[in-house]
């Protein structure tokens, strides 16, 4: 059985003219890069998985961002940066990037909003990635453990599933999952969900969600496929039979999984860049902000790096045009 909406025909052909710069990540680094790139008249696209995700997006208050002389909520500062970038002509699309192809020219970016092509890329995905860390999680990926609700929810029609995590991203996916499954157990270690009030309010309206607050998942069980989770509440463990587990946890890993090894990383898993130009080992691909692992993780430093990368991307594109015309 399919949800009726899936018979809709969706036409999302990639744009024929590639972008000059595609920025992956909508934090301070990515948005500052967008401001500089768009202002330099480059055709610029920002792909951001969620405006309230990331270290700054989840910060309740920031008082030391230059030029803002009063405490501001992280997400609000991002709103200002986003507005500034789009005013200069940058496009902003909320989309998660799952894969890139850097062997292609222009480079290919595969996202939840379709495929995009860019002459240069700036990676600013931050360092709040989750690496499979719950016992059983890694083993059961693709066997009931999923990180893509819109992809995989149709496999759990009429079954019980768990969603682990309480961020805006997690709660935004709940509604889609709820259309297919019988019961959703939403598992969160916090007393109240960390997501914004609007997301929580929307999620609370869904009839088939069971909220398990102050609860941790200690294991995901199953051999061939997921059969259940073990949860811990107030010191007591309990088994919960579910067929699927959607994981939306936040961690401390640099977010590089979508690169599939095409960019050189440090042994710690951070993207390696030329400290001057922020270019990675792949020509035309830059990385900035926390994904390059900073000694000091501050929004203003990420923002400054974004500006450097945008200017370097511009330089890279000009050189290429010059090389082409010299050759001709």
């Amino acid at each position: 059985m399919l949800a009726p909406a899936t018979l809709e025909l969706r036409l999302d052909l990639p744009e024929e003219e590639p972008y000059d710069v595609i920025i992956i990540g909508g934090g301070p680094a990515g948005l500052s890069a967008a401001i500089y790139a768009a202002r330099a008249k480059l055709k610029t696209l920002v792909l951001d998985k969620h405006p309230k995700a990331g270290a700054l997006g989840m910060t309740s208050k920031i008082e030391n961002y230059p030029g803002i002389p009063y405490p501001v909520i992280g997400a609000e500062l991002l709103d200002i940066l986003r507005k500034q970038a789009t005013q200069f002509g940058a496009e902003y699309i909320q989309a998660q990037v799952t894969s890139v192809d850097l062997h292609k020219d222009p480079k290919e970016v595969i996202s939840s909003a379709g495929t995009f092509y860019g002459r240069t890329l700036i990676i600013a995905t931050g360092a709040m990635g989750h690496k499979p860390s719950i016992p059983g999680e890694a083993k059961l990926i693709g066997r009931g453990v999923s990180y893509c609700a819109v992809c995989d929810a149709p496999f759990f029609v009429g079954k019980d599933v768990a969603v682990i995590g309480d961020s805006d991203e997690a709660l935004d996916e709940l509604e889609f999952v709820s259309r297919f499954v019988k019961t959703i157990y939403l598992v969160s270690p916090h007393r109240e969900p960390k997501a914004s009030a609007e997301s929580v309010e929307r999620a609370k309206k869904l009839a088939n969600v069971v909220w398990l607050m102050k609860t941790r998942v200690v294991a995901i069980e199953g051999d061939e496929q997921v059969t259940g989770i073990v949860i811990e509440r107030e010191g007591k463990q309990e088994k919960l039979p579910v067929a699927g587990v959607f994981v939306y946890l936040i961690g401390t890993q640099p977010v590089t999984d979508f690169l599939n090894g095409q960019v050189e990383l440090t042994p710690q898993g951070c993207i390696k860049v030329n400290p001057e130009t922020k270019m990675t080992n792949v020509p035309g691909v830059f990385a900035v902000g926390d994904v390059t692992c900073k000694e000091i993780r501050q929004a203003v430093i990420a923002a400054a790096e974004g500006a450097i990368a945008a200017l370097e991307a511009d330089k890279f594109l000009r050189k290429r045009v010059k090389a082409h015309s010299d050759w001709a």
């Binding site: 292609k104 890694a138 999923s146 961690g251 401390t252």
Partner: protein
């Protein structure tokens, strides 16, 4: 009621007018509704809709031709095309190759994949890189690629298109999109719980929309045609994918650490 919205129809009119080169044939196999169904032959879920979709597309451009067949009444033809389930849609340029196939309706996000296929077949050239083309061309053994998808999966059309472009480059390759929710037994047989899932010759499989040069390595692996350089590349890719899927030492780490360290970061921002 039309399946295509008026807006999309007009958009397609423009796209087909400017980008179609040679004629394209859409060969669709459907099945008539019966009165009695047995457990081993279930009704076709979206045959009617698939037929309507193909007809609507054919009406947009004189270069698109629709051919509708019935899998029961024309069983010989179905066998010739290797069609064993419906709806089945084959995109061909009429050269006799029928190796670009969709099983299940290419609706939802897969509709874009169908349109891109029509354009590529009509233009007679894929947009694979030279490097990948050089890998795929020499394959001389039969390859069957099945890409399992759901209509709402945003990353699936790219995997389908890569497989279909391989098939365009090499007639030894047959590439199928399989809409997993319409063929649950097949999905179960291949343990499909996450999409896109790619199964090659029933021997090699992977999940996710991988870049085409990595996809190509898996195809070569399936037919045992990796050269020494390719073998090294393949091993490196496997290592990386495993590392990304989690450390072997996950038992030493509890995910609550994640949340804790995360809080720590917040404080560092809030001076």
């Amino acid at each position: 009621m039309a399946l295509l919205s008026e807006r999309d129809r007009r958009k397609l009119e423009e796209i087909f007018r400017s980008r179609l080169v040679n004629p394209v044939k859409l060969v669709l196999f459907t099945q008539e509704q019966r009165l009695v169904w047995t457990p081993w032959s279930q009704p076709c879920q979206f045959c009617k809709e698939a037929e309507q979709m193909v007809q609507e597309l054919a009406q947009i451009s004189p270069l698109i031709d629709a051919e509708i067949h019935d899998i029961d009444r024309e069983s010989d033809l179905a066998e010739q095309y290797g069609v064993d389930k419906v709806p089945a849609l084959i995109v061909t340029n009429g050269s006799g190759h029928a190796n670009i196939r969709f099983f299940g309706i290419p609706a939802g996000l897969e509709f874009t994949a169908l349109i891109e296929d029509i354009l590529t077949v009509s233009q007679g050239r894929t947009n694979l890189s030279e490097e990948v083309r050089a890998k795929i061309k020499p394959i001389d053994k039969p390859v069957h690629i099945q890409v399992f998808v759901t209509p709402t999966c945003p990353y699936c059309p790219r995997a389908v298109l890569t497989a279909h472009q391989f098939a365009m480059e090499n007639p030894n390759i047959v590439a199928d999109m399989v809409e997993a929710t319409e063929f649950p037994e097949l999905a179960e047989r291949y343990h499909v719980f996450a999409v896109p899932k790619v199964v090659i010759n029933d021997v090699v499989s992977f999940e996710g929309a991988l870049p085409e040069h990595i996809f190509a390595l898996y195809v070569l692996k399936a037919v045992d045609q990796l050269d020494s350089e390719g073998k090294k590349e393949f091993d490196a890719v496997e290592r990386q994918l495993k590392a990304a899927m989690g450390d072997e030492d996950w038992e030493h780490e509890h995910h609550s650490h994640d949340e804790f360290e995360n809080e720590h970061h917040f404080h560092r921002y809030e001076h």
